[in-house]
Symmetry: C2
Subunit: 452 residues, 2 copies
């Protein structure tokens, strides 16, 4: 039986919008480095593959009355620095950080992740996002986000530049030969000369090729453009479907697209986003979940929908169906979240019903450890995922329960390893170490070798 | 007697161009995280104020034959990630990283350093540089570096935006009040609305005000423009003069410029760059130094001069004076290094003599621990510095000798503290915690408060 891959998304007090109101969470978790270190160590104890940090480069600057009740991304560590600190107190777990291709320079991103891969001895992953809010755009000189298609076009070029920079040095370039006085072999440095639509880069990365060859590329785009991008470049994809059938359709769609980019289905692992609430009985889990749901302030519920539907819904009554004409003709942020809400409106749901069930395409599984393991097994056996991106509504309790109660059950079933068998993230996930493009090509024809 | 401030610049195998050839160094130190962690712990044991990482965002892409003998910046960690990892294994020492204002976006830099300050509990410093080589420019879409004056103009605007972003949140903005359901007080978020020559930023930083209020600002510009910039914004300045008289002149010049920016002389600490080689006798120290100097390959010596004089000197004989007409009319990289070399050429020195004594304005002090302590005392007592940026030619040996032999002597003389008396870098240096500009102003007149 193939093992499932397991990642965890950590975000301050937990994934639930009202998590910080629960007294079992530490309200200041999102900038408490000791909290993150302990969480990573706990996930490592649970033999997780990946410790993951989501990100957007912006605080919200309007509607603050509502955001103050749901402070997502208002007060967070920058993810690569956070994971660099976490690397020092962990030894095996992968470290995935999000960085936006819309608001960074490729050279800086290439360095940050190469550096993280070196200092963690091969555990770095980059979640490639194009960002999906205008607050971020305004921090970087724009009035609003560039169009969806254009963002992905820039992302494609961005990633290709970063990956080329990661190959600047062949694996054995630094010979450090004191006798000849040669620290590196100049023939093994390959200078990139890129002239693209968005970037012009003539240079080489100033750090050796990394332990993993290249950090792992993560992607979570779910639009048609997003899926093509993922099929072409991603090695891990976070999926967000709420049923096995939908999950399998996405899985097959995505893996089916890979051939046209010359890739094998196994070169990419699909991790289904999975929020869980664990109880000693199904009822206890359901009660815990409902207790959390009841804490969602209507202003927060309404604002989250307004945000993802990209239209102001603040004037609408809570307990009446949302008028169909409130659905905008087009969306520019997350296309799939938009479609998700639009679908619920079309089904005649009230504003309150929508925000009480809207989890950006996901659905929280509530149950006993056995029930949760069953669901995970069903999902993987059903060909809907290679593993999961776990979300815990309250932290660290949710993760602790999972590590103590669900992980042993998955191990008993042979669905999870008992111990780490590798030291790198690629090793855990069974992803191959990419050969250096120049070292390969050298046997056929030399490409852009640096002039002495 | 006032205590002296002490920083150490760590760069792989050591500050000497031939350090990596010495068998006592580890040739792969520059990307060995354990090496950096041990060095920081050693400096912390020596009660240093600051552990400092220099940087340029580029590898050299030509003249590789020579660079392969002197691999400076060819293979290094990105400094902020490096120091984030180091933060986890140290508790007191300040952590200073270099980042270029020419090749980053202010929002990203503001986040990286705010994040480092949070995760180190108040130990972060940012060395503001404009970068001084065309290799870096070519990594970011340019053919060459913008002119010196323009770089400093952008730097001024860049720093002012970053500092404004660091004040986005008042110190007590995050109230995390579960009873009222308010995580933060919207009135204490201040949205920056900046329209400048180089940057347009409308937004707020997505992280709470940092333990130090703001990370410490370091600068090392020595040109006239550079000194004005430092007098206006820097809190630590690295000086590079080789004699007490010159040092005092620089010190007085710099501190004298502060009044026009409304600052007190004590708001800025001048640390004189000080390379040392320690021996049990003066002769032993001299021999160690000469042994290192003899390892400088002529290609390396020539290339370093060519680089800093911004002209190719590779055709010149080693043992003849450099023709005066080889001095370019103007410089664009480091103006002071340029002037330094030009001065030596004008004095009729040969190429070899110049490269054998050129240390970018500094001069290695060789001597016994007592002699080195004497020189440091003389320097500080003579009003030439508030402390030192130490450089060790071979690592970790140079730092270890200093911590074991010189630090105790400085402590005996009352020139250094016996133990840390503070937990933050500002605390160590006696720098005040900057009040939040909006919190101050609020009592007089509200400035750009965020609209709800
Ligand atoms: C588990 C998971 C994590 C994600 N993390 C981020 C993130 O950190 N930052 C971000 O901007 N988007 C994030 N996304 C959103 C995706 O990048 C993407 O925008 C979204 O799935 C919609 O896809 P589309 O843009 O192709 O329509 C995440 C999505 C999932 C499922
Ligand atoms: C101790 C010290 C450290 C420095 N570190 C850096 C660095 O990391 N990156 C950089 O580009 N320049 C660095 N510099 C150079 C200065 O930023 C500056 O360019 C130089 O002193 C010349 O000043 P000017 O540009 O005003 O002429 C350093 C200088 C000193 C003395």
């Amino acid at each position: 039986m193939t093992k499932m891959a397991l990642a965890v998304l950590i975000q301050g007090t937990g994934a639930h919008p009202a998590s910080w109101l629960q007294t079992e969470t530490a309200a200041d978790a999102s900038t408490d480095i000791d909290y993150y270190k302990a969480a990573a160590q706990l996930a490592e104890r649970g033999r997780f593959d990946l410790f993951f940090i989501a990100d957007t480069p912006a605080a919200r600057t309007d509607n603050l009355h509502a955001w103050s009740r749901f402070p997502m991304f208002m007060n967070v560590f920058e993810p690569v620095t956070l994971l660099s600190a976490v690397a020092s107190v962990t030894s095996h777990i992968g470290l995935g950080a999000t960085a936006s291709t819309s608001f960074y320079e490729p050279y800086n991103v290439a360095r940050l992740f190469a550096s993280l891969d070196h200092l963690s001895h091969g555990r770095a992953a980059w979640n490639v996002v194009t960002s999906a809010n205008d607050y971020a755009a305004r921090n970087f000189g724009l009035d609003r986000l560039p169009p969806h298609g254009e963002r992905y076009e820039r992302a494609r070029e961005f990633v290709s530049v970063v990956q080329a920079l990661w190959d600047s040095w062949e694996d054995d370039a630094f010979i450090q030969d004191r006798e000849s006085g040669r620290n590196f072999d100049p023939a093994k440095l390959h200078v990139l000369d890129h002239h693209g639509r968005y970037f012009k880069v003539h240079g080489a990365l100033n750090i050796a090729r990394t332990p993993q060859g290249q950090p792992v590329i993560i992607q979570a785009g779910a639009s048609n453009t997003g899926k093509d991008f993922a099929a072409a470049t991603a090695e891990v994809v976070f999926a967000s479907d709420s049923g096995v059938a939908e999950g399998r359709a996405f899985y097959q769609d995505l893996k089916g697209r890979m051939a046209k980019f010359g890739r094998e289905p196994d070169d990419l692992k699909v991790l289904a986003g999975l929020p869980v609430v664990i109880g000693t009985s199904a009822q206890e889990a359901e009660d815990k979940y409902q207790a959390l749901q009841s804490l969602i302030h209507p202003d927060v519920g309404r604002m989250r929908l307004s945000n993802d539907l990209e239209v102001d819904l603040s004037d609408l009554p809570l307990d009446e169906p949302v008028p169909l004409d409130r659905i905008p003709a087009t969306s520019n942020f997350h296309q799939t979240y938009f479609a998700n809400i639009a679908g619920m409106i079309r089904r005649g749901m009230t504003l309150r019903q929508i925000y009480m069930s809207y989890e950006r395409g996901l659905e929280t599984v509530r149950g006993t450890p056995i029930q949760i393991a069953d669901r995970m097994e069903e999902w993987v056996a059903g060909g809907a995922a290679d593993g999961f991106m776990m979300l815990f509504h309250t932290m660290p309790g949710g993760l602790r329960d999972f590590v103590e109660l669900v992980v042993p059950e998955l191990q008993r079933r042979g669905l999870m390893r008992a111990d780490y068998e590798a030291r790198t993230l690629r090793g855990h996930l069974g992803l191959k170490r990419p050969p250096n493009r120049y070292a390969q090509a050298a046997e056929v024809a030399p490409i852009a070798a640096a002039a002495e």
